[in-house]
Symmetry: C2
Subunit: 219 residues, 2 copies
């Protein structure tokens, strides 16, 4: 009985790592679709996201069943609670990749990203994909220290996001309103993707150590 239970717990972790792989793949494809105005690749992002949602829903169902039937305590309870939050983060990461892909699709056959801004957008995409890879790694290793250090890569996305907005606004090129809207949203989607990776890392840290970052009381 207990053995089956521990296999089920392990399967939860494996599914989360698989979901992180899917989220990273979705963002990599979305970035390619965006920067190369590649319609076929944009369409595949939507299919990867459907697989991610399906995996997430199945995982949530099994996690709630485990909570109900096994009545876990302490570390196992924290792990299952954290799994629900992490699967929600990973599903949102997939959704955000879809949002990026949909901008690529809407502008096709034109490219949504002006050439001068492409290096910054590509760097945001790459950093997001790297974050998803790190997330998959810490889910597997359950390494709390690595989870905490993940916040640094998030700073890089924030820096690139500021760089993108500065370039849009510096006045040397006056971009059309449509481009400004697309780029404002694209920057936001990459930033949120990274935020969810950091949030997931915090949940994992909580699952492993039992310590949650708690906001201070308002003054």
């Amino acid at each position: 009985m207990r053995d089956a239970y521990h296999r089920q717990l392990e399967a939860v972790g494996q599914d989360l790592a698989t979901m992180a792989g899917f989220a990273g793949a979705a963002l990599a494809k979305a970035s390619k679709a965006l920067c190369e105005a590649d319609l076929a690749t944009a369409q595949t992002v939507i299919r990867v996201d459907e697989a991610l949602d399906y995996l997430g829903a199945g995982l949530d169902e099994r996690t709630v069943d485990l909570l109900a039937c096994q009545q876990p305590v302490a570390s196992d309870l924290r792990t299952l609670m954290a799994a629900l939050r992490m699967s929600a983060d990973l599903e949102r990461m997939g959704d955000l990749a879809v949002h990026v892909a949909k901008i690529a699709r809407r502008r096709h056959p034109e490219c949504a990203v002006p050439q001068a801004l492409a290096p910054t957008v590509e760097a945001m995409g790459r950093t997001g994909v790297e974050l998803a890879g790190k997330v998959a790694g810490i889910i597997t290793s359950r390494d709390a220290a690595a989870a905490r250090s993940l916040a640094v890569a998030d700073d890089e996305v924030d820096r690139l996001h500021r760089e993108l907005l500065t370039a849009l606004l510096d006045g040397r090129v006056v971009y059309p309103v449509e481009t400004a809207i697309d780029l404002a949203l694209i920057g936001r989607f990459y930033e949120r993707f990274a935020d969810h990776a950091v949030s997931l890392a915090r949940s994992l840290d909580f699952a492993v150590t039992g310590e949650a970052a708690r906001p201070r009381p308002p003054a």
Copy 2:
């Protein structure tokens, strides 16, 4: 023992309803700050959000304690699981109100919203505040039918969001890049606020009925 437990369960519901009230108040203030370029009101949004985060963190801690100590099953387990998701949605709604307020603050003493677009932005704000009010209502009433009907008001926000983007792009007025960026983000923040209200309504429906909307397997 059981009586104390049921009082604690009730307190979870009351705190969630209070949080929904805070989220609605934060968005109402943020919309006022935005449309009237009112710096003092923008600052108060950040304070309301801090109170909301503090309430949410305390609620999550007590919910996890209840799960660990009381080992609830069936409806109570669903209620506590849903409470964690709902508090996460409400915290995000507060964050999004802060994002709106920060745009108002960044553009002060100018107004971020051009006069021609103000009616649409104001309507988005009003609809979001109404949604937060409905959310507080269904948390208190635990009315699953009302929770399901909440998705309709979300359609209204989506319609207003499209109206805003169409007005930005119709070419009759060529807006500066800065305005286009601000409005693209503002529209997105209101839309996400509404999405979280709908997501919360789904969690409540699940808590009450035990039925979760499940994505279909990918083809």
